[in-house]
Symmetry: none
Subunit: 202 residues, 4 copies
DNA sequence: CATGAATGAGAGTTCATTCAT
DNA sequence: GATGAATGAACTCTCATTCAT
């Protein structure tokens, strides 16, 4: 039973995720989830007693797969060019930014608007900090092997991540074009990379 | 009579603003506003027929005062140091960021989550673009009189504004400390300012 | 003032009539009439205190002009052919039946559904009885001068009026075609008129 | 469960019928039906989502029992006297006419005032036409076996049905006495029956 | 475990009616 | 007289939540 229970719970979480992706957080009712899952009202309450509880589970599940930040760390260990890895990372972010309808961003923001969570438990914060750390390390690596010029790697990393966060909310509230994202990415990369021309000039 | 009507409408808008500041957008019901205003259910409907309508009015009223971006443009005309003006601008922004409970940010975001508005009518976008333009001009002015070093003033302005937007959503969803804001502001300023020491050293 | 008041009251009644014609009785609100009249809410209450009161006035006004049953009685006095007068009367009725949207029929029925009125005060009944009497006299006249054959003139008159009433409600609830009305009128006339052929045959 | 559901739905329809009989159509609110049924506000919405929906169900249920026009057709097959069957049919109609408070007539009229239905779907029209057809056949049968004299059986049938309809609306809007109904029925029968006395006298 | 009917609180909305101006 | 802002009752409809089966 516990086995089967576990499976059903997971099924609910997976299905609910789609609902949250589509409708955000506040708009989702128990009924929405019940309908999407094709189970009974009472049935849902056996596993969860509020949309909040469900959303937290969804968020948690999300974390597991995403915590590795798209494999950046692995690549770092494989002696790839830092600029290539960073470009890859930004490309991933770009993809997410442009598919604003296919992710949990909006629902997450809505959730954290509604429920003030202690900072140390705040998933959004955790992920942001993780990303900063990784990007920071990436930049440091780039600086070390002469790809990047940067006096404050962590500062640059934070700057990058805040820009991405700014783009994210812009994407959700106004919509952004691919050009906008590309332009910001380019600006970021140009601020780091030591251009050959310049080097040649020196 | 129209005079008195106008006053009451304004009173409702002002009172509703407080409600939106406190509860966001989606959480606010007509009843909330009715209660806050101390008027009757039907009375509110004489002036507005939905929370959306009220919120738009609130947003609009907000705009009138904020469109000048804190007097930055005036200062620009008065031959003040660009770095001083920029610092002032950022200080203003900082104040808003840290008082997350006293502004419409969250409600606005929620509103634009719920209602997809054509980009050209999108108030959030308009204000962002206006700010970018002003900050861009400011940086250009700073470059011209030798305060700043910057090859792409508009790019820098956009970068700054996206960072501020990132800080804003961070503030609303996780809370940020004064140190965080200061650190980002410092990073921004250092990226622009030509430090005397360095120049002296060279 | 009383003069002006009287005029205004009449204006309200006339305007309200249009509203009742268009929307029936129950659907009409004080607001509808206020809007149609272009006067103030309070203003209307100076003259009438409910839609019922207004409708009664409308009905009453209607009566004054309509009581003469379309001039049938006058024609009777002028030695016209009874069959011609009856045909004329039925033609009038037909016109009303086919313009179901332009008269008070529906509103009247709705009114008398909602308010049970003592029979002797019931306007609908009064008009029906009046019509029966007139049509009855018409038939009697026709019998006397050899146009009609009829053993029970009043019975025939009642039959005719009930058929017309039946057509009226059919018109309002299902819609009727001109053919339907013509067919029924023809049936009625054939039941009365002594056809020359038959006479000749005999 | 569907069994029980079906029963409850039927219970609601039956109870609602009483409400419609008593208050007509437009006056009935969901609350009225909720109260009459002794169920909760939300409970009713599990089965129906508007008074219109309920009324249509009531009307439909009504149809099932009434479509056979009181067993007239069966009698026709059993070689009964046409005049007896017709008298029976009219007696049934009389009963309904005089119990104006116990039937759906008023509510139906109100419903069809409010909702214009395509003629071919109009239940009132369907029933009227059905009755005309049956009465017409009845008269034809009576003519064939020498009971009735009538040159246009269908015309007579229509005439009868329109008179009944006229009586019906008269009943609902003014009230009618038993004498009134009897008189009209007598008039109808006399128009059809070949009286032995007269024949004998001639 | 699972179901889904049932409940009732609460949001939105409309209108007749009043009343200070 | 006349205005129209204001009130509050009443209605529609939706959901989270419970509970007998």
């Amino acid at each position: 039973m516990s086995e089967k229970s576990e499976q059903k719970k997971q099924f609910i979480v997976d299905t609910a995720r789609e609902v949250f992706v589509e409708k955000g957080y506040k708009n989702v009712t128990m009924k929405d989830i019940v309908d999407a899952c094709g189970i009974s009202r009472g049935g849902l309450y056996l596993y969860f007693s509020s949309t909040q509880e469900i959303f937290l589970e969804v968020l948690g599940a999300e974390g597991k797969g995403a915590e590795d930040t798209g494999g950046v760390e692995e690549l770092l260990g494989k002696n790839a060019f830092a600029s290539d890895i960073l470009a890859l990372f930004l490309k991933e972010q770009k993809k997410e930014l442009l598919h604003r309808k296919n992710n949990l961003t909006m629902a997450s923001y809505e959730y954290f608007f509604a429920h003030k969570v202690p900072r140390k438990d705040n998933l959004l914060k955790k992920r942001f900090d993780t990303s900063v750390r990784i990007v920071g390390r990436l930049i440091e690596a780039g600086v070390e092997n002469g790809e990047f010029y940067c006096e404050d790697a962590m500062g640059a990393a934070r700057n990058i991540m805040y820009v991405l966060e700014g783009l994210k909310i812009a994407s959700q509230t106004r919509g952004i074009t691919e050009e906008t994202v590309d332009r910001e990415i380019l600006y970021i990369m140009q601020g780091l990379i030591i251009e050959n021309d310049e080097v040649g000039d020196g």
